[in-house]
Symmetry: C2
Subunit: 206 residues, 2 copies
Amino acid sequence: MITGPGLLFVVSGPSGAGKDTLVDALLARLPRLRYSISATTRAPRAGEEEGKHYFFLSRDAFERRLAAGELLEWREYNGNLYGTPRDYIERTIAQGYDLIMKPEVNGALAVKAAYADAVLIFLAPDRFPILRERLTARRTETTEQIARRLEIAEEEMKFVRSFDYIVVNAQGRPQEAIGDLEAILRAERCRIHRYTEETIENIRRP
Amino acid sequence: MITGPGLLFVVSGPSGAGKDTLVDALLARLPRLRYSISATTRAPRAGEEEGKHYFFLSRDAFERRLAAGELLEWREYNGNLYGTPRDYIERTIAQGYDLIMKPEVNGALAVKAAYADAVLIFLAPDRFPILRERLTARRTETTEQIARRLEIAEEEMKFVRSFDYIVVNAQGRPQEAIGDLEAILRAERCRIHRYTEETIENIRRP
């Protein structure tokens, strides 16, 4: 029986490693796992709900929260700000849910720096040439954009030792990577530092 | 795909926590997992084979190996010596097999001291009164012997923070404990310090 607070899992790694597919698969399988909701200054699109898809903030409000240290990590994309609100993370975890997010590598490192209990998982392809194949197959980016992504991937690999785990998403065997991720999520709950003195005392109680 | 050297898993905890049943279940499910073979000065019984059930040693040979630091842990039981040979552990792990053993708590701590890569798992009941029930149900020991085991269990719980994981074997739900153990065995292989620089370099290779 799983009880107690949830855990924060951060899945990161180079573009083309398969983060989206694998995180979606985990969310579909694990009822206790929720996707971490970001705050953004972007305007809501049709059908997007406050507190479900995003927390929508004015630029002013976002910047105030940033300055107050209330965002675990943030980034700018297409002129809009995105970030991870600490209060939402802490509230959801206190309710007993596990959270998962998939920031870029520098975002993952920022989360760990701000929230030491986070579990960082680096998702890697079995070989770098796979990244090029996957990015090319998407047909959404130019050759130059793909070359740039591969340069970034090379750079990101330098930070792999700051992560807690590596999961290799081998070409054609996504079920193995999903199995590894599920095992990590389950095993982390059994790690000794997750047990409070109170839980241990409860076991001993006559 | 799992490659590279195996890992050494040490499952310990109080008598009655369910080590034997759970370790047998794991061995039946995981083809890559082997039970660690002990060295002993006890004479072979009918059907026992050298290097399969035990490594049979004369007392002299056992004591020489002990003095030479070739045993990870040892204990005396019924006038015979038992111990875990380091060379066997290292050879089996190098062949890519995972090993599991179930020493007493002080043996588990000795293994960790001698072999820092070992993964220590403390198997606990959900409540201590369960231990008394299980030990009584065995009908193999007197009330005094059971009382002594419970005292030892109380003592052993003091060392729980030296372990890497706690798995709670809740009454009536052994499948959950087996699932936790399987997850730990799988997740440990993904931990960052299990990856050599060479493995990481192989991922990057163009």
